[in-house]
């Protein structure tokens, strides 16, 4: 007997089963496939607040499920989901006064408040102002291009670039508060 390769059901087929038949097992499969990545992303954008990140992940899936029938599959499902998650993070951060729209975010890199002498990379990212953090996570961790970030955040490409540089500079100074520009990374 020949071994049969197990091919995972595509996101699109699972989505069609959810929309067409309200199929719970299809939803669970899609959820389990994408949630670990979504959760890690949202957790970073929210600055490491685990309960808040879980709330955002749940809201992301609810919003995605409501709009699944309208998704045109011109981008990857994962990218679409990340975009929804990012918007929800932004709304939540904005409503609690923790998000400043990027064009207004002119905080000098060295002015990021932190009291520790030296922090590790994950902590440094979480200490960045939310707008800086979002651009840095999207570009340097998730691999989005500036054009995509600009579209997601509703800013120009130039703004995305300048905020990334400010974010990197701030991160570097937190990692090496002694003053070296070429900070060690732990």
């Amino acid at each position: 007997m020949r071994a049969q390769a197990v091919v995972p059901t595509s996101d699109r087929i699972l989505a069609e089963r959810i929309v067409g038949a309200r199929d719970e097992s299809a939803f669970r499969e899609l959820y389990r496939r994408h949630t670990p990545r979504l959760h890690q992303f949202v957790l970073r954008i929210m600055g490491g607040d685990e309960p808040e990140a879980e709330d955002v992940v749940q809201d992301t899936w609810i919003r995605a499920s409501r709009n699944l029938g309208d998704f045109r599959w011109e981008s990857k499902f994962e990218t679409w989901l990340t975009g929804i998650g990012l918007n929800l993070c932004r709304n939540r951060l904005r409503s609690s006064g923790r998000w400043t729209d990027l064009p207004e975010l002119s905080l000098a890199a060295g002015q990021v408040e932190h009291r520790e002498d030296r922090v590790d990379l994950e902590r440094a990212i979480s200490l960045l102002p939310a707008g800086f953090r979002a651009v840095l996570v999207l570009h340097d961790i998730e691999g989005f291009k500036h054009t995509e970030i600009a579209e997601q955040l509703g800013v120009t490409e130039g703004t995305s670039k300048s905020q990334l540089w400010s974010a990197r500079r701030a991160m570097r100074r937190m990692l090496n508060p002694a003053g070296s520009e070429q900070g060690d990374v732990t």
């Binding site: 199929d23 499969e29 959820y31 949630t35 749940q58 609810i62 499920s65």
Partner: protein
């Protein structure tokens, strides 16, 4: 600390060093949320009518195994019984369950179904709590022994809570128990691989 640029200047590109790039690449890209979140999300979607509800829905993912994915009713019954047994008596470990109340509750829940199975599960739950009570009386000579006993007891509690959350995702007591376990597991993970507390069934 002041920035070394004049306000309004066009910022200079800041490129990542090789070490920074490597460190960013090494950051984890995935993180499992608590099990509770999936159940909570599914429940909300059912309530909104976006997922089918009712006895015919499939609970397990088809990719989990090649076996039938429908959850048999008796497993839910067993979970209810185990939950009742554990939590009815669990608040006062050292006493052998409020057996009468638990048995009465089970009779009510399972009347006309498989009362024998329910009763068996209830007895097992009672035995478990009694064993815990006996364990708590033991004077351990080695601290490691009491640690292992605690681990076993917590693992059983964790497994029971996981079953209950499938039946009642919004139950606040179960939610708090599982959140406690998740917080503890995260702390253990942060301490490194040697710090893992729970052994999954």
């Amino acid at each position: 600390m002041m920035d070394d640029r004049n306000e309004g200047d066009r910022p200079e590109p800041v490129e990542l060093t090789a070490a920074e790039r490597e460190a960013l690449d090494a950051l984890p890209r995935e993180r499992e949320p608590g099990r509770l979140l999936e159940e909570r999300t599914v429940r909300t979607l059912r309530d909104e009518g976006l997922l089918a509800s009712g006895p015919g829905r499939r609970v397990e993912s088809a990719s989990d195994s090649g076996m039938s994915t429908r959850r048999p009713w008796w497993r839910s019954a067993a979970a209810i019984a185990a939950g009742i047994a554990l939590f009815a008596g669990g608040l006062s470990v050292g006493q052998v369950l409020g057996a009468r109340q638990t048995a009465d509750a089970l009779q009510t829940v399972f009347v006309g179904r498989d009362a024998r199975l329910a009763s068996e599960v209830q007895r097992t739950g009672s035995d478990y709590v009694a064993a815990l009570a006996a364990l708590s009386e033991v004077d351990f000579q080695q601290p490691a022994d009491s640690g292992q006993a605690l681990e076993v007891a917590l693992t059983a509690l964790w497994a029971a809570a996981n079953e209950i959350v499938r039946l009642a995702p919004d139950d606040p007591l179960t939610a708090r128990i599982l959140q406690g376990f998740e917080a503890r597991a995260r702390e253990s993970n942060d301490r490194g691989p040697g710090g893992q507390l729970l052994v999954e069934f």
